[in-house]
Every structure is written in C-alpha cells, then in structure tokens.
Symmetry: C2
Subunit: 765 residues, 2 copies
C-alpha cells in the first residue's frame, strides 16, 4: 500500500514533468540570430554529454565487472549473508548498473529541457519578465522532478522487485540494493567532475585570452571559446548538480531504510512494534519524499512575478510554499507510519514516537533554511564578508586573495555549528522514543526533512544555467538594451540560486553523512554478530525493554570486525565502535582527510590543464584568422567545444579513480592488518568532516570573490576598469575552479565514500 503510493506519486510526477516539458517547448523560439547561438549551445552540450556518457558507461561496466568478481569469487562467504554469494553478486551488480543508468537518464532529460528552455526564456524576455521567469523555472523543474522521481522510482521499484522475487526478509533488502546508490554516486562523481572541469576550463580559457589578452568583453561572439563557455554552464551546473542530488536522494533513502529496519526490529523485540510494522517504517522515507515531490510541484507552479518586482522574491515565495507543504506532508507521513498501536501504558514515550520524529523532520527543514541564509551572508555583497574582499582589492590582487581566503576559512564555522545542533538535536529527540537505535533514526529523519524540498531546490539550481544562457543568447544576438536588462536581472537571480543550491547540497551531505555512517556500521554489525543476539537476552530479561538485560550467551562471530561491537547491558543492544584511539583507525582518519586535499588538488589542476589547451586553441584561431577579431571572419566555435570536451573527459579520470580507488585500497590493506571495517569507518568519517569544511571553504570563497567583483562593477572603489576591479577579477578567476569544480566535486566525493563503503563493506570484514 505505502509502496504503491510511492510508485504512483513518482510516476505521476514524471508525467507532470513531461507535461511541463511540452508546455515549455511550446513557447516561441525567438529570432533566427538567437536560434543560431542556441543551436550551437545545444549541439555542444549534447556532443559533450554523448561522449561523457560513453566514457562513464565504459568505466561503469568495468567497475560492475570488478564488483561482480569481488562479490562472487574473491570474497569468502559469511554465515550472515542473506543469499548465496552468486545471487548477492548478481543483486548488487544489477542494482549498481540500474542506479548508474537511472542517474544518466535523469541527467540527460534534465539537460535536454534546459538547453531548450534557454532560448525560449530569452525570447519570452522580449515581451514579459514573468513569462521568462516561469519558462526558466519550469524548465528547471523538469530536471528537479526527474531527478527526485527517478531516484524514488528506482529505490521503490528495486525494493518491490526484490520483495516479490526473493523470499527475502524485508530488512535484508536495502543491503542488496545499496548498489543503486553507489551506481548513482559513481555516475555523479564523473558527471560533476567532467562537467565542472569543462565549465571552468572553458570559462577561464575564454576569459584569459578574450578579456585579458585580446581585450574583448565577456560573451563576445568573436571569442572562439564563448560557445564552449555557455555549454559549460549547462554541463556543470545542470547535469552535474542533477547527478549530485540524484545520488543524495538515492543513497540517503537506502541508508534511512536500513536504520528504519533496525529501529522497527528493535521495537518488535521490545514487545511492541509500530502500527504498520517493519515495512511501514522502512517505507517512511520514501513516502515523505513522495509528499515532498507534490509540495515541490505546487511550489514551482506558484512562481510568478510582477514585471517590475524582484524575481528572487517570487522564487523565495515558491520555496516557502514548498517548505510549508513539505512540513505538512511530513506530519501526515509521521503520524501515519511512525505511530505505535494503542495499548501502551500512559506516559510511555513510545506513543509519541511519531511526534518526536516529526520534530526531527522539522529540524532538518530548518537546517536547510539556515544553510540558505548562511550562504547568502557569506556570498552576497550586501553583507560584511564580500564587502571586506572588495575593499581589500584596493591594495591589489594579493590582498584581495588573502581576504577571500580568510573569508573562506571563516565561513566554515556557522555551518558546522548548525549541523552540530541538528545532529545532536535530532539524535536527542529521536532518543526520547527510548528504543535501541531510535536516536540514530532521528538523525536520519532530520535528513529526510532536509531533503523534503530537494526537487524545488534543484529546479532553482537549473534555473541558473537557463537564465545565464538566455542572457548570453540575448547578448550575442544583439538584442535591445531593455531586454538585456531583463535577462540580466534573471541572470543575477540565477547566480544566487546556484550558490544557495551548493550550500544546500553540502548541508544535506553533512547531515546525511551521519546517517550513512550509521547504515555502514549497521551493515558491518549484520555481518559480524549472530542474528538478533539481543532477542535471546531480552527473552530472559523481560519484554519491556527495561534495564538489566543479560549479555547474550553467544559471543560475536570471530571476524576482524568483532571487537567493533560492545554489548550495552542497559539497553540490550550491540553498540558499534569506531575507536580513533587505535593507531590504525587514527591513521584511517588521517588518510581520509588526505584524500580530500589530494582530490581537490587534482580537480583544480585538471581545470588548469584543460584551460591551457583552450587558451592555445583560441590563440591559434586569432593568429591564423585575423579577421575574427575584426569581425569579418567567423571563429570556429565547434573546435573549441571539441577541445574542451576531450580535455575535460581526459582530466576527470585521475581524480575520479583516486576517489574510487583509495577507499578500496584502505579497506583491503587494513583488512590484511586485521582491522579493515573499523579503519574504513574512520577513513569515511574524518574524510567526510574534512570534506564538508573544505567544500564549504571552496564554494563560499569562490562565490564571495565572484560577488566582490560584481560589487565593484556596481561602481564601488572605482568601478569597472579600475585597479581594484582588476584585482577583483584575479580573485574571481581563482574562485572559478574552487566553486564550480573542486567544491561541488567534493560534495559528490563525500557521498561516494559512503556508498562505496556501504557496497564493499562485506569485503572489508
């Protein structure tokens, strides 16, 4: 019943997204000049995506084979395996491929619509700002809805298939479909890396030769790299971030299902299960996500603006509507699926379980709002941080950079405090329920709350490249100024929404991290401890879950992870331990932190290397065809697009393989030392902590430099072409690979670490 509801809402959302697509595509496609440019962007983006998907497919197939072989042949069977090693290999590999495929499809369709919405937005801007806003937002919503609905459909569908097929206990199913989340992460990593490298290599390359050497303005049609730059906005922000959030929703749904199963089983053992049983609790995350989809659809359709109003206000209104509706959906979902049946003694906290969890969800929603505000504070020029960078530009590029880095380091503090409060608060509220694992499930529910508005947020994000492109098309097709002003206003809003989405993405990654660790530890526990040891104990100690439970008679299975679990006499549960005081585990943490730094180094260098090839190509074209700069000869856009495509795809491989290879290497090497699973846990946790901080630093410093430049362009400190402006341009260029390549790729890396360890956990034990 719950599953059916989830599947129906997902399918209906997809149908709605298709309707939106036709609705957007119906709009006018502007003048022939506009179409020439739009077509060039379209072709470039599609060519990149085609080639990128070819590379990713190849890598995915290789990796799928590796997973299959590892699972089927190299791993020694564990007595706690839910199915035979061969079927297990089959399930995990199939869900991996399925996850990769779904992520690819969602990304492709999102971009398909995005690169067709840009010209329609540009064209509509000629008559109505509201019309242009709505086209851009609805075009973006196709991407948002497809991502969330496809991920829901994938997880729900796999769950349905396995529960029909296998005769498996429901609580075992999530461990067999974690491959879906990993497949999605795998694609997301390369999509974000490739897209991020593409967009910034094109941008930096175009700027360094165009603006600096040739002295022509941004988005000037004489620049051979200008189309590549516009393509980049689509492949980086749209396809990349789409894959990122696809992965978030998929992985976090599965992780939450794992914790839900643990909680529901604990409730049963304590003698009083949830009203709708194990399956009801397990499907809770999917149901509230489905409600979130409905909330987002209503929010998107509510976006409209007056011709002279600030378009950001319209988007914010839609966001608030979505948030309130998502909260209502959360209330319904909690009351429905997390209630206990009547019959508990008065004052037993379990009867309020649903209420405690509802508040956990509200904590998550509030966390996302807090992240939106913090990101604005650190990246908008209304506030002190960006102003301080602009002021430092007066004494040259060096002080501009120093100020930006100081702001970047500083801006990590508030997000960490917010996340800390959210984790501890939701753990505390969940813990009030008083069941083993109820606190952890509280953090999972908070994550669900935070992701409730994901589809809307993603629509706002894709709004960014659509309006950016619309601005570029208007600029390059020489439209009158009053239209340009309209698209500029939309573009400025798009810059803000892109920054907010990054804040939201890292915030949800941070909050989700704790949920995913716990899922990993739960998985290790399942493979290590004899089935339900506490149940044996509880039968002796009483059925109420009261204290004084005897330790189980059976001691844990003697594999390398067996001293990762401690029997708690008070609650009768096995507590997972990741003991940083062990040298190997500490070293695991150290290596996790190192991965984050090294990966960032590779990502930043990749942009530099790829930009270098662009610079050389643009220089070559200017030299061989002097008519280009004079305006008498046409530059060869396609060749630039081609060169960036090849460069970005080549450059994404090294950081990608590092990200995938290092967790495996750590797991395998430390397994040989007899302490694989625990070391990997520390690797994952400390890597995640460092990743959150470094990504926040990279995203926000980049955003702050960008807006410090824009602040000066409003006429401050001498305005455009002043020395301060030149200094600010240096900061902006430095920030480009920070905020659009390394930072967003780190989000994906963090989640990839979780999913890869979830999938490969059985190999490290």
């Amino acid at each position: 019943m719950q599953l059916l509801l989830v599947l129906i809402i997902s399918v209906l959302s997809l149908v709605f997204a298709l309707w939106l697509t036709t609705n957007v595509l119906k709009n006018d496609t502007g003048t022939p000049e506009m179409q020439v440019i739009s077509n060039a962007i379209k072709e470039g983006a599609e060519a990149f995506l085609r080639r990128q998907y070819k590379t990713i497919s190849l890598l995915s197939v290789v990796f799928a084979i590796i997973i299959f072989v590892l699972y089927a042949f190299l791993r020694t069977a564990n007595p706690n395996d839910p199915v035979s090693p061969l079927s297990m290999a089959g399930y995990v590999t199939t869900s991996f491929i399925f996850g990769a495929l779904s992520s690819g499809i969602a990304g492709y369709i999102g971009m398909f619509v995005s690169i067709r919405s840009n010209i329609r937005t540009a064209s509509a801007a000629r008559t109505s700002l509201n019309r242009a806003l709505q086209i851009a937002m609805r075009g973006g919503a196709v991407s948002g809805l497809f991502v969330v609905a496809m991920s829901l459909l994938g997880v729900g569908g796999l769950y349905a298939a396995l529960s029909r097929l296998g005769g498996l206990a429901p609580e075992k199913i999530p461990f067999l479909i974690v491959g879906y989340g990993f497949g999605a992460s795998f694609v997301a990593l390369f999509a974000q890396l490739g897209g991020g490298i593409y967009t910034k290599a094109a941008d930096v390359g175009a700027d360094l030769v165009g603006k600096v050497e040739a002295g022509i303005p941004e988005d000037d049609p004489r620049n051979p790299a200008v189309i590549a730059d516009l393509v980049g906005d689509n492949v980086g922000d749209c396809a990349g971030r789409g894959a990122d959030l696809f992965e978030s929703t998929a992985a976090e749904n599965i992780g939450a299902m794992i914790l839900a199963a643990s909680l529901a089983l604990a409730a049963q053992r304590a003698g009083f299960g949830f009203k709708y049983g194990l399956v009801g609790v397990m499907l809770f995350p999917l149901v509230v996500r489905a409600f979130g989809l409905i909330a987002s659809i209503i929010g998107v359709m509510a976006v409209r603006t007056k011709e002279d109003a600030d378009p950001m206000k319209a988007l914010n209104r839609g966001y608030y509507i979505t948030s309130v509706l998502a909260a209502i959906g959360f209330f319904i979902g909690s009351k429905w699926l997390l209630s206990m049946p009547d019959g508990l003694p008065a004052g037993d906290p379990r009867q309020y379980a649903w209420l405690y969890y509802f508040f956990c969800g509200i904590i998550g929603l509030l966390t996302s709002v807090a992240f939106v505000f913090i990101t604005q504070y650190y990246t908008e020029y209304k506030y002190r941080p960006v102003k301080s960078i602009a002021e430092a530009s007066l004494t040259g590029p060096a002080t501009n950079i120093i100020a930006g880095i100081a702001v970047g380091f500083e801006c990590t503090a508030l997000p960490v405090i917010v996340i800390s409060i959210a984790i501890i608060g939701s753990f505390y509220l969940g813990g009030k329920v008083g069941l083993p694992g109820s606190g952890l499930f509280g953090t999972a529910v908070a994550t669900m709350g935070m992701l409730g508005t994901a589809a809307y947020i993603l629509a706002m994000d894709t709004f960014g490249p659509i309006t950016d492109n619309a601005g570029g098309i208007v600029e390059m097709s020489n439209q009158p100024d009053n239209i340009r002003i309209k698209t500029d206003r939309l573009d400025a809003v798009g810059n803000t929404t892109k920054a907010l989405t990054k804040g939201y993405a890292i915030g949800s990654a941070a909050l989700a991290a704790f949920l995913l660790f716990s899922a990993y530890l739960d998985e290790v526990r399942q493979y290590t401890l004899p089935a339900a040891p506490a149940a044996v104990a509880l039968q002796r100690g009483g059925t109420t879950g009261a204290p004084a439970v005897l330790p189980p008679t059976k001691s844990p299975a003697s594999n390398s992870a067996s001293d990762m679990f401690n029997f708690n006499r008070k609650t009768g549960e096995w507590v997972a331990i990741v003991n940083l005081a062990k040298p190997q585990v500490f070293v695991g943490g150290l290596l996790g932190a190192m991965l984050v730094f090294l990966f960032s180094a590779f990502a930043i260098k990749a942009v530099g290397n790829c930009a270098y090839t662009v610079i050389n190509e643009v220089r070559r074209q200017f030299k061989e065809k002097p008519g280009i700069l004079a305006g008498t000869d046409k530059p060869d856009y396609a060749r630039c697009v081609d060169i960036v495509t090849i460069g970005a795809l080549r450059q994404m491989v090294l950081p990608g393989l590092l990200a995938v290879g290092m967790p495996i290497a750590v797991g395998v090497i430390f397994k040989l030392m007899g302490i694989g699973a625990e070391t990997v846990a520390a690797f994952l946790m400390v890597g995640t902590i460092c990743g959150i901080l470094l990504a926040t630093f990279l995203n926000n410093s980049g955003g702050a430099w960008d807006n410090a430049k824009k602040f000066i362009e409003t006429g401050m400190y001498g305005g455009k072409r002043s020395d301060a402006h030149k200094a600010a341009v240096v900061g902006d260029t430095v920030g480009d690979p920070f905020k659009d390549t390394a930072g967003p790729s780190l989000h994906v890396l963090i989640k990839l670490l979780s999913t890869i360890t979830l999938v490969l956990a059985p190999l490290f034990i």
Copy 2:
C-alpha cells in the same frame, strides 16, 4: 642516577651555550653604518619582546588563576585524585607558571644572541664565508640549546622536586606536572601568533607601499618600515619557533613519561618488570633527549665550509653527524633503560624489548629525514611543483595562485603517508614486546627519536633570521657587491633551513599527536577506573600475561567517562575508546576541524588588519616628509616598529583566546550532556588531523610561491620586472601570512590542544 645524568647534561649544555654566546659576542661588530642598523633592529626586537612578554604575563596570570580556581573549588574531588584538590590545584598551577616562565626565558635568551649575531655575521662576511657561517650557526645554536636544555631541566627538575617532596607514586607525578607543558604551549601560542603577525604585517606593509607604490627595492633604507621588517624576522622565526619547539619537547617528554609509566606498570603486573624499574622507563625519554643534546653540540661544532663551497652542504653534514650520534645515543639509552632482567624464557619477546624500541626510535629519526626531503621537494625550485607555479605565472596572477593552491593541497599527501607508516610501524614494533601498552609506547619512542635532533634543527632555524638580518645590514650599509654575494648565499641557505624547520615542526607535531592523545586517554582512565583492575584479574588468570584473563569483578567507576573503557579479555587491559560513531563524539570531531579553519581565518585576518596600519603609517611619512624618498630626510623607523608592535599584540588576542577557549567550552558543554571526556578526545584528534593537513598546506604553498618568485628572478620566464615576475610577487605576498603566521601558529595550536586537554581532563570527566 638517570635523573642526575639528565640534569647534569642539561646544565652542561646551558654552560656550553653561554660559552658559545661569549664566543660569538667576541667577534667584530663591523662599521659604524652597520652598527646603526643593527642597533635599530636590536632596539625594535627588544621593545617588542618586552611588551609582548608583558601582555603574555598578564594573560598567563589570569589563566593561572582560572586554573587554580577550577581545580581547587569548582571541580568535585575524584576518588582517584593523587593528592587533595587544593594541593593538586597548587601543583598544576605552579608548574603552569613555571613552564610559561621557562619558555619565556629560553625565547628571550635565544633572541638576545640572535640579534647580536646578525651584525657579527655581516662583519665576518667581509673576510671569510666560513667565519660568517660559523657565527650564524653558533648564534643559532644558543637558541637551540637553551630551548631543549631548559625544557629538559624544567621537566626533570619538577619531577625531582615532586618525588622528593610529595611521597607520591612516581607514575602519578607526570599528571601533576603536565601544567609545565601547558604553560609552555600557552606562551608559545601567543609568542608565535604575535611574532607571526608582526613579521608578516611588517613585511606585507613594507612591500605594498615600498615596492608597489613607491617603486623602491626591498630592504631600501628609505622605507620607514624596513627596520620593522628586519625585526620581524627575529621575533617570528627565532622567538616564535623557539617557543614552538620548547613546547614540543616539554609536552612530549611529559606525555612519553605517562605512557612509559603505564608500560612499566603493565610489565610489573605481568610479573616481570624492566631492569631499572618504573623510574628507569619513565626517565628514558629524558635520557635520550639529553644524549640528543650532546649529539647536537657536536654537530654544530662540526659545521665549517670552504670559501667557495655551498654552505648548505656544511649544514647538511652537521645534520647527518647529529643524526648518527643521536642514533647511537638512542641505542645506548634503549639498551640501558628498556632492557628486561635475565631469566625470561628463551624466545619470550620481552627480552628484545630494548631492541624493538631502538628500532622505533630509528623510525622516528628516518621520519624526520623524510620530512626534510619532502619539504625540499615541494618548496625548492629545482623540482616540478615550484617550477609549475613559476610557469603558471606566465598567464598572470590568477593562474599563479591557482597553481600554488593546487601544489599546497597536493603536498599534504606524502607527509600523511610517511606519518601513517611511522605510527603503524612503531606501534607494530612496540607491540611485538607483547605487554599491554607496549605498542603505544612504541609510537612515543618514535616521537622521541624524531625529536633527538631538535636542538640542531632549531639552530639551523635561527640561522635563518640571523643571515637574513646580516644580508639586510650589508645591503642597507652599502657594502661592496662581493660581500653582498656572500651574505646572499647565506641568506638563501637560511630560507631553506627555515622551510625545513617548519616541515620538521609539523612532522614532529603529527607524530607526537598520537602520543599525546594516548597520554590524555591514560589520564582519563586513571580518573575513571578503579586502581589497577586488571591486576586483580591477572592474579586469577595467571601471571604470564597469557590469554583468557577473566574480567575484573569491579566495574568502572560510574562517572561520565566510564563507557570510554572496554575490558579486553585477551590482554587483561582496559582499552580506551573514542567512538566516532556516537553523534556527540562525531560532533566533537567536526568542531575540532572547524576550530582549525576558524583559527587560520583569524590569524590571516590579523595580518591584514595589522599590515593596514603599517601601510597607512608609511604613506603618512612619505607624504609629510617628501625628503625621505629623495634620500635627503631620514624616515622614522621607530614609529613604524611601534605601530607594528601595538598592532600585532592587539591582533594576537582574538585567535589566541579562540584557541584556548574553544576546547574548554567543548569540554564543559558536552560534560553537561554527560559525555565530556570522549567528545574532547575526538575534538582533539580530528582537530589535530585537520590541523596537520592545513598547516602543511599553508607552510608549503607559501614556501613554494616564495621560491617560484625567486626562480623567475634567476632570469626564467622573463626574469625580474617581467609580467610573470609581477604575477609571482602576488603569489609570494599571498603566501606570506600562510607560511609565517597561520601555518606555524597551527603547529602550536595542535600541541596546545593536547596540553590543554591533558591539564583540564579532570574537569571534563
């Protein structure tokens, strides 16, 4: 006997240092022009130190009172307290004050000699390179010897005093004198922050107005901030780094003594103590450090060069001699104090205990050599990384910065791998001894090995500001070119040695971190568990330390830290747990990482704020006295020195209080949640991991930018005054606060976190 030896060697080293001082001071003090400049530096440095010490004294007294009150009145007495709360408060507070005082004295004397050696080095350069080299190195050695010998004397003396006075069990004494280490850290934090802010504010300020605005060369006497810049080299590199390493040796000696006591007790419980008993093992760290002092003295005296040879070779030769002698000393110390008496059964690993630990020491020595090489690779222009930054300067400052940051992120990888191998290798070797805690003591011994050459390394470090100043004096007093070439060669070597010392300091901080965590956990254990519970168990299970020990009948004291310890049935020891899988502990880790970023932000901003006041002052002088630039009027150096002094002291307070206040806040807040000690442990560990990485990034990127500029100045990519050079100057300026303020301050912060948690642990339980 061992203690007497330590005290005698320490005193003799101090006597030798005094002899070196008179030996250096005997030398010729050059021409009157030289003396004018040297005196100005001397006065500036002394004025700064005087005022800085006044501020630090004030802060120390306030903090001493806080510690006393917390210990004496606010803390509830613990049944495991070694003495009454009031005496405990007295011991801890007294050792805090004593540590702060010793650090101050060592720093003052080091700088006293350093600011007098500079002119003698400059003067000697007029006749002999060898003579100049020797004066600079011996002047530096005074600082190195004073720091190491004073710290040894302090720890040894306090130990002697308490063991006479108190009737205390020897193993309890280190917990009462940890205050010494914390006092040293406290002074080091402010000394390094204040000195680091001073040196870079003066440098950046002098450069931005002098070089960029007025177009006069570096070290030009017309620049009013030029003396402040030369003073800065002394107060930052000499006094700051001296305090840093003073703290290292003090804190790590005490930490190693704590682990030594645990090991020796475990050996006794297992029925077979070390030959020289508990006290012998506990004094082992002090004895090998004393041997290291002798090795360093011989190494320093062996430094000599031919007139036409590379002075770096001479310093390296001295370093190798010191290393080999330190290794021999280590061999003697291990064989003497870590041997077991005869009578162990053949094949029992305990009879090779001393040999295993000797090899742990060698691991430490090799680690320090590895760090020296890695630092050279990433910061010298012979190698790829710096070359890549220089090449990136061709396309402007933005690409220079991007390349530098990529190199900085990348250069964290190798040090982490080396540290990982060192920790696991020494833990494994130590573990071979087969006693509880023997592995942990192995990591402590490795740290001792790494610190064996500390005095020599510190001499090389102080060599840096002495030769830098000598170069400045020669330049400003218009000496002939052939002399300038000689001091330039020495100055170049000094730049290298300064970079190496930073690599060494961070490496030893990283390796020591694990030892200090373990000491902290040991302290928490002492306050939490009933005395020697495993002993009870072992009496039942047998005396050989064989497996199958029964768990103790008494369960741990029920304070908030009691579930931090797990009884290991195999070894009969209580294992400390820092469980990152608990939400509060994970949040502790997150907050630790955040502290590192926020502290760096504050340190970098402090430089900016202080530099700003310098810029305004220099501009004011140029404007009010136009004769300065024409060379007809003298600038007011003293006023600049004054302004930087006030600015640096004001700016050091905020980051300093953050560093001291946050661990206390975390401990107290989480104690209220019932989980103080464990959260603080995670705070400390993850903070340390992030700190190691961020400090490595900051130090090495700064060094690499510096040398990329120097590489271009050798004539590459257009040489001086080319656009590439201008771009490289931007990178160099950005790197200044990285490598000389934030990076070195982070070393101190890492160690301060350890010592503050060691001192305040009883409050968090």
